[in-house]
């Protein structure tokens, strides 16, 4: 069956590979590129643990074929910190205790970054709506919302 040569830019670095069409983007990231920051949770387009940015849009990477990302820019959780400095969203999750087990955290942070890019100063309702595609089974979301508010304030202050 069909094999395809793709070039996908992940966190600013171009990667080339020969892949089967059926390879999912999340498996490409985790198994072809060995970037395991992106998690696989439900496997059924429900939980959002696998959220990455594809050309600037937050998507569930378990529901996109890697071949579809040929020529695209992908940002994963590994691409958030710059020069050893945590991204404000990462700092927010740390400062506000936005996680317990941490399984949902990479996806939660990628959704948050996409939300804040669109809406830098969201209300609590807008935050909860923005992360409604991401499930956390530990925290009850209260501290996650606080973490996103922390990042929102910090990112606005930096501008």
């Amino acid at each position: 069956m069909s094999t395809h040569h793709v070039t996908v830019t992940v966190n600013g670095q171009a990667h080339e590979a020969d892949i089967e069409a059926r390879l999912l983007l999340v498996h490409f990231l985790r198994e072809t590129l060995n970037m395991t920051g992106t998690h696989i949770g439900c496997d059924t387009t429900s939980c959002g643990a696998c959220t990455v940015m594809l050309n600037g849009k937050a998507v569930k990477s378990c529901t996109v074929f890697a071949v579809q990302a040929d020529g695209s820019d992908v940002t994963t959780v590994e691409g958030l910190a710059q020069n050893g400095n945590l991204h404000p969203i990462q700092e927010g999750f740390m400062e506000k205790h936005g996680l317990q087990c941490g399984f949902c955290t990479p996806g939660m942070m990628m959704s948050s970054v996409a939300l804040l890019a669109q809406n830098p100063n969201p209300t609590e309702d807008e935050i909860r709506w923005g992360i409604s595609g991401n499930l956390c089974r530990c925290t009850g979301y209260v501290n996650i919302v606080k973490a996103i508010q922390y990042a929102s304030e910090k990112m606005q202050a930096q501008e």
Binding site: H4, T45, K57, K60, V64, F65, G133
Partner: protein, 290 residues
């Protein structure tokens, strides 16, 4: 879960999509993929060839033209949600896009895919029935236009031929004193509707209902047009007892089955309640409210 193998093509022109479709039995179109890819992973769908239309760039438009809102088949739910023309003039469509799945899915999922997949639990089919929308299909024999009322023929089935692709959705532009609303009950964000109701109506100068469309989601094998409820309201003043009567007729038109989302009686009761609420909201909007 990994889907079985398949061939993959990503043409950039819609004519090449049609050629591939008509030349390959078992080919399927990949648009947003938010329903198809999970189905392939469960091996409920096993296409021999996936024709990815995401690189056909001239299919993503949303614009008004000559009395219609024309939406390219590849317009994403997120595009519809953020469209100014949709927000200001097509509140029923805006409502519908806003409650489909979750924001991550809406970044990928498309209007054309939502209709062509024809899952009775999908939200846009009822909305298109309420609007009296038209669906443009392209095949080897050219283009044809299908009324939404003729499009949904059965459980996950449409009147599309195997070698046709939906290219455009056409929604009638609103006239004066018109309004619409989509109301959905879901157990949680991302779930399919337990039941949902789409209403689009027009008032005459006296404030009587001159035209109304009512569509029902996930209470039958196909989306259902509640024609008796529509007829009961057409030509009449929208007063409380008549709206309640129409809501009951809509509940009778529903053909729900009991499942993990609720009993048959519960779903019928939801349809009645949502119908009357959607009518009130549509009335408010027809009178200039938001």
């Amino acid at each position: 879960m990994i889907p079985p193998n398949f061939d993959y093509e990503a043409p950039t022109h819609v004519d090449d999509v049609v050629k591939l479709l008509s030349g390959t039995p078992g080919a399927k179109i990949l648009a947003g993929g938010q329903s198809l890819i999970p189905l392939m992973r469960f091996r409920l769908a096993q296409p021999t060839l996936l024709i990815d239309i995401n690189r056909v760039t001239d299919l993503s438009y949303i614009h008004e033209d000559n009395g219609w809102l024309r939406v390219g088949t590849l317009a994403r739910e997120a595009d519809l949600e953020s469209s100014k023309v949709v927000f200001s003039r097509y509140p029923l469509l805006a409502d519908t896009s806003h409650v489909i799945a979750d924001p991550l899915v809406r970044n990928r999922s498309t209007l054309g895919g939502n209709l062509a997949h024809a899952d009775p639990a999908n939200d846009h089919p009822a909305t298109m029935l309420a609007y009296g929308a038209r669906i443009v299909a392209k095949g080897p024999r050219g283009d044809r236009t299908i009324d939404a009322g003729e499009f949904f023929t059965g459980f996950f089935s449409t009147s599309l031929a195997p070698d046709e692709i939906v290219t455009e959705i056409q929604i009638p532009s609103p006239t004066e004193r018109s309004g619409g609303a989509y109301l959905k009950i879901e157990r949680k964000v991302g779930d399919f509707a337990t039941a949902a109701v789409a209403v689009q109506l027009v008032l005459d100068a006296r404030g009587f209902i001159s035209q109304i469309g009512i569509g029902l989601t996930n209470v039958g094998e196909t989306p259902i047009k509640a024609t008796e409820a529509e007829q009961a309201l057409t030509g009449h003043e929208p007063e409380e007892s008549l709206i309640q009567h129409a809501a009951k007729l809509a509940a009778q038109a529903a053909q729900p089955i009991a499942d993990h989302r609720g009993s048959e009686a519960y779903k019928r009761s939801l349809v009645a309640t949502l119908t009357s609420r959607a009518i009130y909201k549509a009335l408010e909007r027809a009178q200039g409210g938001r």
